[in-house]
Symmetry: C2
Subunit: 690 residues, 2 copies
């Protein structure tokens, strides 16, 4: 419950793969158009045929922040509960709490349409490196090269979109050494079919998160519609057979971001500045929401999804920081960098790469300088709330759509506009009381960050304290109403600019400084890093050959490795858990939250085959964003869903080791056993398994 879009990184770090710097063991999040076929053949005797690969790729879907796959000819999609929970939550009310009570549609008519869920199904990949890099000319400064490249990317996307009617995105690979155009079929009518209770999906809650052994039934099922009818996908995954220790498995999913190619200076910046700051922010929100949640069951329901995401990121980042603070890890990185740089120095064709390491360090300094304004104003950490983000989108929408596509901010390019519009118009629930709690906490933090005399702070607070101001802003705004947002959007720029809604006014007040910070970040940090890393990555490719895969970028990747135990405190931890263990853990913890079980599960105990596997661990390389990814066997049949890492796997952000790191998955047999015997959903089982 945790591999949803976060950037995790841990102790007991085995230095092998890091020191080598190249893919070893079962390391790698591989591109579908550049699979390590030779490695697979040599190590596992497996032929990754074009047919096998294409079928798997086309069966996968991308969720917001996670992964999933088609599993029936009638458009069923399976993912993790914690990937789907945001959308299940949006369907819930004080009266119908599908997060707490679960949901199961008996008929297609009962399936519930999600107000704001878009799935993307990858159709094709095209290498556009030459065109993108060709747009940057010798002698351009950072601002000019950033502008030229962004314009080219926006144009490529728009052209492809006009031609194919697909959603087209240029993905930056190897930190800028390569660019590929990914074209997706976009699905926006997605309906909830089945979700277990969060209690069993996230059994053990935050205390058990990232731990193993585990007992989480972390899945849920949606159905994709088009023209009000279930889609019939060309490709979907068949249900798998038995799985056992040492079997080779694969995951196809969307790892969001890794930092494995980072230089030491960049890792130090993460260790000393970036990760401590994000942790401070996460803990602050966690404490505020925990305390507020406890005031009533309805508060708890309203904050639950936010709280899950925050606690999950906090635990992952804590593990990440622990890795970065480990001398064993950092020494290995330094050693590798030293060797790598001496190889570069020895290679006349790579001379220009030497300066790139210095450039990365300089970019990190620029990052440190701009980070407060960038994080607080541009990324919105000072105004944490859904309503501010609506306000920001509306204000920017009004300003951006009048510009030529090539000149727009990336999020408002033609290829992204449909998603922006859908997001603004979606009738998702927004709770002003919860909005106030988040906004006051973040305004308080911003106050400390900039000091009482900051002119922009003063303008925003308008003579009030952060606590008073947060209440006034939210209570005075109508942006929690989807109808009002739609009205503004349909009214166009003039109408948006004329609105006196206090949150829109706030978004306008901060926009100038926010845009400045963004521009500084995009040129002095992002562009500088891109230029430097593209040289470093090119040197890696030149020196390391085909064994170098690009860092994760929330694009579709394949990893492989066997189901495997690991050692902890000198003991072997078995790879599979079973239903019997779930009930044991429930009893040992006094049957209390977060180890309580839904009533259905208590009643079904005697009917269940308690020897059914529940969760399992494997050596699959993975990271946040891989949540919900199908685990498939050699025949491409689904045998489980990845949902978590064990605690050692939190190191994977910055380096791979298979000593103790493991991916944690729900076994497909647990899904079938519980659908049949706990939820009485035989029809669903039949559709997925036949």
């Amino acid at each position: 419950m945790s591999r949803k879009f976060l950037r995790p990184a841990m102790m007991a770090f085995a230095s092998l793969a890091i020191a080598a710097g190249l893919a070893q063991a079962d390391e790698g999040m591989w591109l579908f158009n550049a699979l390590p076929k030779k490695q697979l053949k040599e190590r596992y005797g497996f032929d990754a045929t074009d047919e096998w690969t294409h079928h798997l790729m086309r069966s996968c879907v991308r969720f917001p922040g996670g992964s999933g796959s088609f599993v029936s000819p009638e458009g069923l999609v399976i993912t993790n509960h914690h990937v789907g929970s945001e959308f299940i939550d949006q369907l819930s009310t004080a009266e119908h709490n599908y997060i707490k009570d679960g949901f199961s549609a008996k008929t297609r008519a009962e399936e519930l349409k999600c107000p704001d869920l878009e799935l993307n199904n990858l159709v094709s990949i095209e290498d556009v490196t030459a065109r993108v890099t060709g747009s940057v000319k010798e002698g351009m400064d950072l601002a000019a090269s950033q502008k030229a490249r962004q314009a080219t990317i926006n144009t490529i996307e728009k052209e492809a979109q006009d031609k194919t009617k697909l959603k087209c995105q240029v993905v930056t690979l190897y930190q800028g050494a390569q660019y590929h155009l990914y074209s997706y079929k976009r699905y926006t009518d997605v309906r909830l079919v089945m979700a277990p209770e969060m209690q069993i999906a996230f059994f053990g809650g935050d205390p058990d998160n990232f731990e193993y052994p585990r007992y989480c039934l972390d899945f849920c099922v949606f159905r994709v519609y088009e023209d009000d009818k279930p889609v019939k996908p060309e490709h979907f995954l068949k249900w798998g057979k038995d799985l056992k220790e040492e079997d080779l498995v694969f995951i196809a999913g969307h790892p969001a971001r890794t930092n494995r190619l980072n230089t030491v200076a960049h890792l130090e910046y993460m260790r000393d500045i970036a990760v401590p700051e994000i942790l401070e922010l996460l803990r602050r929100l966690e404490v505020a929401l925990n305390s507020w949640s406890g005031r009533s069951p309805e508060n708890g329901r309203r904050a639950k999804d936010d709280l899950f995401g925050i606690q999950n990121s906090r635990k992952a980042r804590t593990g990440g920081l622990e890795t970065l603070q480990s001398p064993e890890f950092m020494d290995a990185k330094m050693e590798f960098e030293k060797e790598f740089r001496s190889k570069i120095a020895a290679n006349p064709g790579l001379k220009s790469t030497e300066a790139a390491f210095h450039e990365v360090a300089e970019a990190c300094k620029a990052w440190e300088a701009v980070r407060h304004d960038y994080n607080n104003l541009e990324r919105g950490a000072a105004f944490e709330s859904k309503m501010f983000h609506f306000a920001r989108s509306l204000v920017r929408y009004a300003d951006e759509i009048g510009k030529p596509n090539a000149d727009r901010l990336k999020d408002f390019s033609e290829s992204n506009l449909p998603t922006i519009r859908d997001g603004l118009e979606a009738p998702v629930p927004v709770y002003p009381d919860l909005e106030i709690i988040k906004l006051r906490s973040s305004l308080t933090r911003w106050f400390t960050s900039v000091g009482a005399d900051d002119p922009l702070l003063k303008k925003v607070l308008d003579g009030a304290s952060p606590v008073e101001r947060a209440a006034a802003l939210v209570n005075g705004s109508r942006l929690h109403e989807a109808d009002y947002r739609k009205e503004l959007l349909e009214g166009g720029p003039e109408k948006i600019r004329a609105s006196q809604d206090p949150l829109l006014k706030l978004a306008r007040i901060v926009d100038e400084k926010a845009r400045q910070a963004r521009k500084t970040y995009e040129t002095q940090v992002e562009e500088r890093l891109r230029q430097a890393y593209s040289k470093i990555a090119a040197a890696r490719l030149a020196l390391g050959g085909e064994d170098v895969y690009p860092d994760a970028t929330f694009s579709l990747r394949l990893s492989f490795g066997p189901v495997a135990s690991f050692e902890e405190n000198g003991q072997k931890v078995q790879p599979f858990t079973h239903f019997a263990g779930l009930y044991k853990r429930w009893e040992l913890n006094d049957r209390k939250e977060p180890f309580d079980l839904p009533k259905r599960w208590i009643e079904a105990r005697d009917k269940l085959n308690l020897e059914t596997p529940f969760n399992f661990v494997s050596k699959l390389d993975h990271i946040g964003g891989n949540s919900g990814s199908p685990i498939v066997d050699r025949e491409g049949r689904i045998v489980g869903l990845l949902f978590d890492s064990n605690i050692y796997g939190l190191a994977l952000d910055v380096g791979y080791t298979d000593k103790q790191c493991r991916a944690v998955s729900v076994d497909a047999r647990a899904i079938v056993e519980s659908l049949k015997k706990v939820y009485g959903a035989q029809a669903l089982v039949d559709e997925m398994t036949n």
Copy 2:
């Protein structure tokens, strides 16, 4: 549940009392030897006779971090559950969890002796201002004056102690304008008689903390012994009769610290540096302990007392920061300071006071510069754990006892040594697993604070990561064994210095730098503030007369005010809650934690008079440390126990307002009703009420 030793401060601040800067309405935490008799007479027609005052003073006891009082001729002492909980927790084990299940001794033989609880009963107060201030001569620099004053204080205390055999402490009043010698009878054989379950004592947990209406049975009862027999105190409080809205009441207790006389520069330092930093530290520990607690019921038991204290302080400090960030509050403080300084400027006798405001600002700058080393190394924030604090005490004990009393660190002066020795030898439970969690979190934080290349950090980590090092330090140490600590203490300095215990080695490694930081703090911050504030306070006294009381200093004080409702969101909040409301809140919250009720309470519902008052609010001025203070009526009879503030009362650290601030107390009738009908403790009721 919350007025235990913390420094709280809130929105909707009424500027009246602050702007005037002088005691108004029912403001004031008054010295027992300087009560506002005239005010009491004029406003309430009440004669605070010497007899009434002396009886009340001698009936009070000071707990570690809180307050209490004698309530029977056989030595019964009553206080808050949350003041006693640390000691109840020390008596608990995995098998006998008195925090969770409560405790009730049926006979005196069953009363449980606390391993580490010392109570202080104030016997006399003597003004020693002339002797203390006389030791500081013209022309001394900060270090010399600090040394001279500290030596004189140590000497005064030792002389008094030798003469009276009492525990004698010089209390600094008006920030250094006055010094009084407080002499206490010291009780070290204190036994637990009765404690309700924490669930009812702290009903509503952190979410309800500092809120009102409330339903907390926040009391517990100890008995004081001497020579294995119950003491027969000369003075004890009789049990009170009915209490109603508008009745005048008093509290006598030990408010720990207020900052009401602080200058604006000092308040800004608190707002911008000190309070945000302590909050960051508290939230970090809260999140780490919360997550670890959840892993098993036994983890939860072990961490519960720490977690309560942390959450309580975090909520109080959050409110405090909100006050400091309120322009209404700060503008009022600035306005007052401007007027006050213009009066000073106009008064030729106060000319030398003008520079004092600048000196306070300079001291705050010095504080900012030394704060990391002072907090991390000297106050131990980098090594958060009981075992490090034992190690620190042992190392310092070995070094200090060889010095003349006058030259020692204050905590090791002759008057404090018995408490230090008892604390080291007490067989309190220490849980290495919990120690590791706290230590790793604080080492991780220190790493970020000083950076990876800090020489002391490198020495402390010894090549390991903070996570690895915390485990090695705790697992390699024997300081969790009381017998080992006693052995070292009895072996004396040589034995302590020879020990190779890794935590003792750690304490030695950091001691030089810790002492340096302490010295800088004591001279450049504390002494500088003392000298400046003693001038400012003297000017206040000169200009304000008898209406100025000293800031709280954990010495005995009296406050007064009526039982009174308050307004919230335009609604009147009634001053009393009742048993019926408790059951209603339980049901509305699905009977779930933290709103669950102990089994006894569910069963007793029908027997109870549901109209019995449970908690009430009054205008009594109060702060952390006042927890457990008896609330008495005009006849000096106990009618309740103060245990909390409402949310508005978190402003009281820095200024008084009675607009919405209220003290929250358990009604004495709730204690009697539940002792009789829930706990079947009629004998205890008879002893306390007859």
